[in-house]
């Protein structure tokens, strides 16, 4: 079946099968391999993308559900060589170890900062609770989100 959606600001029409996962559509059909798979059951948050203004685990979304949707993946954040403030803060704060959870983590954080300009640490913890990281203990990830929030609200002011 044919579905049309916007991904990373680009409208795309693709052939999808009814049982195809959005994750596979993104990774295999569109070749956007920045989004990872950690469990395939919506339990780890690794495959998080933003769909219509909500962070979703793309392994649990069927491709046809994306028809007409607006989707954003990790590939959309940097502009050329310029990293998004969240990406920059993750690098600067040492929030990245193996990196496998990071694309999903950043997408969840991005949506949080879209909704709240200056979330405190407890709020950040809550927002990231669905994204498992096995390496960092989250401390530096929370530092990074806090730092990015400051950069971003500073930039807007």
């Amino acid at each position: 079946m044919e579905i049309t959606f916007t991904i990373n600001d680009e409208e795309r029409t693709v052939d999808a099968t009814p049982d195809q996962r959005l994750l596979d559509l993104i990774r295999e059909d569109l070749g956007l391999t920045g989004t990872k798979e950690g469990c395939g059951k919506g339990e780890c948050g690794v495959c998080t993308v933003i769909m219509d203004g909500e962070p979703v685990t793309s392994c649990l979304v069927l491709a046809p559900q994306a028809d007409g949707a607006e989707i954003e993946t990790i590939e959309n954040l940097a502009e050329g060589d310029d990293l998004h403030p969240l990406q920059e803060s993750f690098v600067e704060n040492g929030a990245v170890q193996c990196g496998f959870c990071i694309p999903g983590m950043i997408m969840t954080a991005k949506q949080l900062l879209q909704e709240e300009r200056n979330p405190d640490r407890d709020r950040i913890r809550q927002a990231l609770a669905g994204n498992i990281c096995r390496c960092t203990g989250y401390d530096k990830i929370i530092d990074a989100v806090e730092d990015a929030a400051q950069k971003m609200s500073g930039g807007e002011a």
């Binding site: 295999e28 070749g31 956007l32 391999t33 920045g34 989004t35 990872k36 798979e37 950690g38 469990c39 395939g40 059951k41 339990e43 780890c44 690794v46 993946t73 990790i74 590939e75 954040l77 940097a78 990293l83 969240l86 990406q87 993750f90 690098v91 600067e92 704060n93 040492g94 990245v96 170890q97 193996c98 990196g99 496998f100 959870c101 990071i102 694309p103 950043i106 640490r121 950040i124 913890r125 809550q126 990231l128 609770a129 669905g130 994204n131 498992i132 990281c133 096995r134 390496c135 960092t136 203990g137 989250y138 401390d139 530096k140 990830i141 929370i142």
Partner: protein
């Protein structure tokens, strides 16, 4: 000391491509292979059974199926395994399956869907055997035997009150006279401690792609491995090929923690591509990763300790049983390391012990962060806390009094004569936490409403606990342990480091970049690393045993110094000057005396190339340890060095639900010299999170050989809500032989957390949990019993 890069916070060299999504992990390479085939593995339907027949005819009819391989297709195939070759690549007819991960057939198809469908249609006939479901059963008289073969000539100085048929191997330890020590003691305190099976849960599970070069008969495998050259050797020997016929290339690795030491996808892929001559990929899912790969050994540990009224330890006796499951994997070494850490960081004159690795039909026990020393850390630190309570001595004071000092002897009789910082870690953590070692443990007021427990104030009990651990790093025990690194200048005006050291996220690439930057006085931006590849990089040993900073760090430092020496040698010839008159900085070599004698390193390299001279450096680090005596476990040097770590943890216990929340964590870590302080903190924080999981939530529940919770909604890895902010102090004292005095810290960061939490829970509610994890239902049940 003024340094350029070492000890400074530089950006992790691989972070940028990981935050943009550009980093390429194995599964991101699929599109590079045209016509890649998909493999699925048919695994054992029963944890202990003979395979009597296998019928693939229906499966073969599924459209898209290319081939289904069984053991009969490879009559020459040999077993594999990290230490002992006891694991079959494929179980053959009339052979035994010993756990649910055993492979019976490999289905290869044009699509994953077809492979999955065909796998369902494979019919097997088995003869079921009684399942050896755990340690107790495995040691019973008349218990079924998991392996008939005797792989290790067990030393068998074994207490004959249990059956040894399933004992894979044992390790003894003896120093001094424990009986005399117990006679000297005012108290003899005994305790039994139990730890659970854990899964390492790297977020990236096992995945691989392989291709075959027909012309040269070389199989190339793209898959994560913590030790490329060891995996290469194991694959080659199983298939009866030369090592050079197996080439393994290291893509980005999404975490490991011990799970990527064993062979997983590698041999299955290699077999298929050589037959089919087309690229094949094998992608596990999370459940398969739980099922097929290693676990942290479940252990039963018994301590018996003599102590005087003044708190002086006089004797320590230990017995350790580890459930190594169906196959040996790292089990023999895990049980050895566990035993050798039995007294923790405490000086005891009389020590005796035995450890046993025991086969069962459970998932196999292998490596996981801390390698047996983690389970032992929970046991000795719970035990020491109990002793402190019985003697009514402050637990910090008891630890401080008995902790190793210079000149102390480990249980192996190794004299600690360099960089012994156990006491400093206790003092460092205590200072951070406000614990007065001579007096009060200083538990701060915690606002109960601010805990994630959301309980009423009267339902909250607060407690504070401490744990101090030690960890001998490197393989040790006389195992040849080394790393080889090379450095060269490239045409792109960079300095290229060649090492096969696996960066599983811990940051060895950043550490070696800093070391080269320091030695050559050059900006890290000029430095690049090749990816690990068995055919273009030399053996760096494994990313395990907390060894890469120390071993590969030293090898790279030596390679950089070798290159520096070469630069001096040839530049002085070019300049017609003497070495003391020269310097190297920012990619240039120049003379202090004559300002015209100044050229870039790459210009020098070009000039030498024209003369047929290659400018490069190589370094090898190969320190010696000694094999412990087979009867007593004694040797002059068993581990290259030891790292110490103290943690203090505050917990809140919800008396109404039994839920425990970790509120504060304070760490004092003995690092020698932090090459990258931010990276060290990251290890402490991540290690602590894994310790919190071990203490409170994580457990692979296995019943009759069957995992009951092979997913992340029932196997509970700590989330951001479960992990508090951590305060740490890095103890930087000279004396270690690591690069710039650095010690290894990866595994020691996780060991103290679980016992510190258990001790804090005891402090909060007066109940000592000697078995992990401390789940809310157990807490609640114990509270109700009282």
């Amino acid at each position: 000391m003024s340094r350029r890069t070492v000890g400074k916070e530089i950006k992790k060299v691989d972070a940028r491509e990981k935050v943009t999504g550009e980093a390429l992990y194995t599964e991101d390479l699929t599109s590079d292979f045209g016509g890649v085939l998909h493999m699925r593995v048919k695994r054992a339907p029963h944890p202990h059974a003979y395979l009597r027949d296998i019928d693939t005819s229906k499966a073969e009819e599924v459209p898209g199926v290319v081939e289904i391989f069984t053991a009969s297709d490879f009559p020459e195939l040999k077993n594999f395994g990290l230490i002992i070759k006891d694991q079959p690549v494929l179980v053959g007819i009339d052979e035994k399956m010993r756990y649910l991960g055993d492979a019976l057939a490999l289905v290869v198809a044009e699509s994953d869907k077809a492979a999955l469908r065909a796998r369902e249609l494979i019919e097997v006939e088995i003869e079921e055997l009684e399942v050896v479901d755990g340690l107790e059963k495995a040691l019973e008289e008349d218990c079924p035997v998991v392996h008939d073969e005797e792989y290790i000539e067990a030393t068998h100085y074994i207490d004959p009150d249990f059956c040894c048929d399933n004992v894979l191997c044992d390790h003894p330890l003896q120093r001094g006279d424990v009986e005399a020590g117990f006679a000297e003691a005012d108290y003899v305190i005994e305790g039994e401690y139990r730890t659970q099976f854990l899964d390492q849960v790297p977020l990236q599970v096992e995945k691989g792609i392989a291709d075959y070069d027909r012309e040269n008969d070389v199989i190339t495998i793209w898959a994560a491995s913590q030790w490329l050259h060891d995996t290469q050797a194991d694959v080659a020997q199983a298939m009866g090929l030369e090592k050079d016929q197996i080439r393994i290339k290291q893509p980005e690795i999404g975490g490991a923690f011990g799970k990527k030491e064993d062979v997983s996808v590698h041999i299955h892929l290699a077999l298929a591509v050589r037959e089919l001559r087309r690229p094949v990929q094998l992608i596990y899912n999370r459940e398969e990763s739980f099922l097929a790969q290693s676990k942290r050994h479940a252990m039963i540990i018994r301590h018996k300790t003599g102590v005087t009224e003044e708190g002086e330890l006089t004797a320590w006796q230990t017995e350790v049983f580890g459930d190594t499951g169906a196959y040996a994997s790292s089990g023999p070494a895990v049980l050895q390391k566990s035993l050798y850490h039995c007294t923790g960081p405490y000086d005891v004159p009389n020590v005796k012990g035995n450890s046993y690795a025991v086969y069962t039909n459970n998932p196999y026990g292998g490596a996981m962060r801390g390698f047996g020393a983690t389970q032992m850390g929970f046991a000795y630190e719970s035990h020491i806390d109990r002793i402190a309570a019985e003697l009514d001595i402050d637990p910090a004071q008891l630890r401080h009094k008995n902790a190793y000092r210079k000149g102390s002897l480990t249980p192996n009789g190794q004299e600690l004569n360099q960089s012994v910082n156990a006491v400093e870690t206790i003092e460092g953590a205590a200072e951070l936490a406000g614990w007065d070692i001579e007096g009060d443990h200083g538990l701060p007021a915690i606002d109960p409403t601010s805990t994630p427990l959301e309980a009423d104030e009267e339902d909250i009990a607060l407690g504070r606990g401490m744990a101090t651990i030690m960890f001998g790093f490197g393989y040790g025990e006389g195992f040849p342990d080394h790393s080889i690194a090379e450095i060269e200048l490239t045409e792109d005006e960079t300095v290229r480091i060649r090492t096969s050291a696996a960066d599983v996220g811990q940051g060895v690439r950043t550490v070696v970049t800093q070391i080269v930057s320091e030695v050559l006085k050059i900006d890290p931006g000029f430095i690049e690393l090749v990816r690990g590849d068995t055919h273009t990089t030399r053996n760096a040993g494994s990313t395990s045993a907390t060894r890469q900073t120390y071993f590969t760090g030293n090898a790279v430092k030596e390679a950089a110094e070798d290159l520096l020496g070469e630069i001096y040698h040839y530049a002085s010839r070019e300049f017609g000057t003497n070495h003391p008159e020269m310097a190297v900085k920012d990619g240039r070599v120049y003379s202090h005396v004559n300002s015209e004698d100044d050229m870039s390193l790459w210009e020098l390299n070009d000039r030498l190339a024209r003369q047929g001279v290659e400018l490069k450096g190589r370094g090898t680090f190969f320190p010696k340890t000694y094999k412990p005596d087979t009867r007593t476990g004694q040797a002059e040097k068993v581990y290259v060095d030891y790292t110490f770590h103290t943690q203090i943890v505050d917990v809140a216990v919800d008396l109404s639900t039994g839920l425990i929340s970790v509120e504060n964590v304070y760490s004092g870590l003995d690092v020698g010299q932090a090459i990258n302080p931010q990276g060290v903190e990251g290890q402490i924080e991540g290690g602590t999170a894994q310790g919190i999981g071990m203490a409170l939530t994580e457990e692979v529940v296995v019943e009759d050989g069957v995992i009951q919770n092979p997913d992340l909604s029932r196997y509970l890895v700590p989330t951001s809500m479960d992990c508090p902010d951590i305060e740490s102090v890095l103890i930087e004292n000279a004396g270690s032989d690591g690069p710039f005095g650095a010690k290894g810290i990866g595994e020691p960061t996780t060991i103290a957390t679980a016992p510190a939490i258990a001790n804090a829970v005891y402090d909060a509610i007066g109940i000592r949990f000697n078995q992990l994890p401390i789940k809310p239902e157990r807490v609640k049940a114990e509270l109700e019993r009282q």
